[in-house]
């Protein structure tokens, strides 16, 4: 690895640690650095502060870290797989697919989602996973026919709107108790993830990351195009399935527990490529995950800036960070129709 990359990784880790500490200190209850250190080391036996940390702040920060890393690395995989610099879980309708999966589960079979129970939470994840993977599959099939990056984007947005419409109809038709379960889900945010859910979030995240690491070599080969990748001895269908499942798991996991978080997935890979000046996924995968984690923890911090118990929706913050990056990508790179043919 080049010196530049090593220095950037060190910097990124330092920034991330600072952001994490800052985020842990932020919240409705004031907590000084002194209290924080004592609570962590166990010297201070203020049960309230310790409880706030273990029950609220640490789960929230861990969720932000995992969500930022997952969504960003999903975006990276999709951009390479679709050969589309504007691909991402949110813009291509993958998050909406997860939402539809969750809606089908919560309003169709509300009994399977008992809040708090581990099997119930697992079902929630599985519904989101299958929803995400199904849409990914549809988009992948379409991408074989439609080579134009903007066409894919429009179809992704149309799919997203269609899913929202279906969800709306289901909300209208479902009974009160089922609706309640779904509405509670839609209110999900980084802070809404419980310590119970963390017990599923972390292992599934690690599983997803293992799959991503296994996909690094095919991802690099796919930079040449599918035909060349095949003649390099890469199993194209196997790689596609691997990327599909890894993206589905990571996107589904985050959307299932936090609701859709937009624009992180498209924007962060570009930020990381710009910092690290490389297209090599061996560098990009960890770089994108660290950058994504930092960006989302930072967004979480920003969302709490108003103070006095007011918390901005994190989705609004990520949109404000992500959309300028997307505009920059569109303006800077000439993306002609059929550019990648």
């Amino acid at each position: 690895m080049k010196h530049r990359s090593v220095i950037l990784f060190l910097l990124l880790v330092i920034v991330l640690v600072i952001l994490v500490c800052a985020d842990l200190l932020t919240g409705t209850t004031r907590m000084s650095l002194h209290d924080f250190v004592h609570a962590l080391t166990g010297n201070n036996h203020d049960p309230v502060l310790l409880n706030i940390l273990t029950e609220f702040r640490i789960p929230r920060v861990v969720t932000a870290l995992v969500a930022g890393a997952s969504l960003s690395v999903s975006g990276l995989m999709m951009q390479t797989l679709f050969r589309n610099p504007l691909a991402g879980p949110y813009v291509l309708g993958i998050s909406s697919g997860s939402a539809l999966g969750v809606a089908l589960l919560t309003m169709g079979f509300p009994g399977y989602v008992l809040s708090g129970s581990i099997p119930g939470q697992l079902n929630l994840f599985l519904a989101a996973f299958f929803g995400a993977t199904a849409v990914l599959g549809i988009m992948l099939l379409l991408s074989l026919r439609l080579r134009d990056v903007f066409t894919m984007l429009i179809i992704g947005m149309l799919l997203g709107s269609a899913f929202s419409a279906i969800i709306g109809i289901m909300q209208y038709l479902s009974n009160e108790s089922a609706l309640k379960v779904f509405v509670i889900w839609t209110m999900g945010s980084l802070g809404g993830v419980t310590s119970e859910q963390i017990k599923i979030l972390l292992p599934v995240f690690i599983l997803g990351v293992i799959l991503v690491i296994g996909a690094i070599k095919p991802l690099n080969a796919l930079l040449l195009g599918e035909q060349e990748a095949k003649t390099l001895g890469i199993n194209i269908i196997g790689s596609r399935v691997l990327l599909l499942v890894a993206t589905g798991i990571l996107t589904g996991l985050i959307t299932g527990y936090c609701g859709p978080i937009g624009f992180i997935g498209v924007a962060v890979p570009h930020i990381a490529r710009w910092f690290f000046r490389t297209g090599n996924h061996r560098v990009l995968v960890p770089a994108v995950m660290l950058t994504g984690a930092s960006v989302l923890v930072c967004s979480d911090l920003i969302s709490q800036l108003p103070g006095k118990g007011i918390i901005l929706p994190v989705n609004a913050v990520t949109a404000l960070i992500g959309i300028p990056v997307i505009v920059w990508v569109i303006v800077r790179r000439p993306i002609y129709p059929g550019n990648d043919n």
Partner: protein, 330 residues
């Protein structure tokens, strides 16, 4: 090295088989540069993809040395055939050296880690295509010709006895086009590789290739460029056209109908540049013509009856001839 008998190529469209070429037979030896020529839609790309095992043959058998292509695992095949498609897609932020490194993938572990030796091979390949200075450039900041050379470096790195290239000279300017083909010929000579490339540049193919595969109307004819020219196999394309293949050189030549009759005196007739220009512009020497041209004191004199004009260049002279013709000699 590579050969096939009674091969049929094609693809499936809505699960209906569509045969593009059928029953074609040809071969290529080690160290040979083979040019695949043919008009648009004659199945050049389909044949190349079939030979690269990217799509199945619709019939017949392909042999690599004395082994059937079908019997190769993708792993062994990736060390035998390198393929450069006609795609010009460039992924964002990828550096030239990173792209060439991908050529080593058939030899790397599951993570694609490069050994020091792999890195030396990457640099050697870049040097071979005169692109070493581009190693750290991002792909989207190099020219089309450079990009094509980098693609060839990637294929070289793959260290295969056979390289297939689909239209490596498309969209390139004339200098880059010839540079690429000369580079391919040198690689055949120096590295004893079999290189097969498809092209629309018949002149270059007929002048530089060792062997021509000529696809036409679903069949393939094979031979040295001279065999193809001598037997007039390409002539059918030029029937009734105003251009033809010069059998001496393999170059495309343009014929002109006699549009203008001009009387030339000895000073004009002995100027070889004007003779060339005459052929191009369709001017015929006719001693009885009303227009006459002479070349005296580095100036062109054009006379028509009592009118005399002087011109500094052939361009002005010919446009003068045209004007008078249009005005007075319908």
């Amino acid at each position: 090295m590579i050969s096939f008998q009674k091969l049929s190529t094609g693809y499936f469209k809505r699960s209906q088989p569509l045969v593009v070429s059928s029953g074609i037979t040809a071969s290529a030896e080690r160290g040979e540069l083979v040019a695949l020529i043919g008009l648009n839609g004659t199945g050049k790309s389909t044949l190349l993809r079939t030979l690269a095992a990217l799509q199945p043959a619709m019939g017949g058998e392909i042999w690599l040395d004395d082994k059937k292509l079908r019997g190769y695992t993708s792993e062994v095949l990736s060390r035998t055939i390198a393929f450069v498609s006609s795609s010009r897609a460039r992924s964002p932020a990828v550096k030239v050296s990173e792209m060439v490194e991908l050529g080593r993938y058939p030899y790397t572990n599951w993570l694609g880690s490069l050994t020091p030796n792999d890195k030396i091979l990457v640099m050697e390949a870049l040097d071979r295509v005169h692109a070493l200075h581009l190693a750290d450039h991002p792909l989207d900041q190099i020219s089309d010709g450079e990009f094509q050379r980098v693609h060839i470096a990637r294929a070289l790195c793959q260290d295969t006895p056979v390289i297939l290239l689909d239209e490596p000279t498309a969209f390139l300017d004339v200098i880059n086009r010839y540079e690429i083909i000369v580079l391919l010929r040198d690689l055949c000579r120096l590295k004893n590789k079999t290189i097969l490339f498809s092209t629309h540049d018949w002149s270059a193919a007929l002048q530089l290739a060792d062997r021509i595969w000529y696809l036409h109307a679903g069949t393939l004819r094979e031979g040295a460029p001279e065999d193809i020219l001598m037997t007039g196999q390409l002539d059918a394309h030029f029937e009734g056209k105003d251009f033809y293949v010069n059998p001496e050189t393999g170059q495309i030549r343009f014929a002109q109908h006699d549009a203008y009759h001009v009387a030339l005196d000895q000073t004009a007739l002995s100027n070889s540049w004007f003779i060339k220009a005459m052929k191009r512009a369709g001017i015929t020497h006719n001693p009885d013509a009303k227009l006459s041209v002479s070349f005296i004191g580095n100036q062109w004199n054009l006379s028509f009856g009592e009118t005399h004009s002087r011109y500094q260049s052939i361009l002005e002279l010919i446009s003068g001839i045209r004007k008078i013709h249009a005005q007075f000699l319908p």
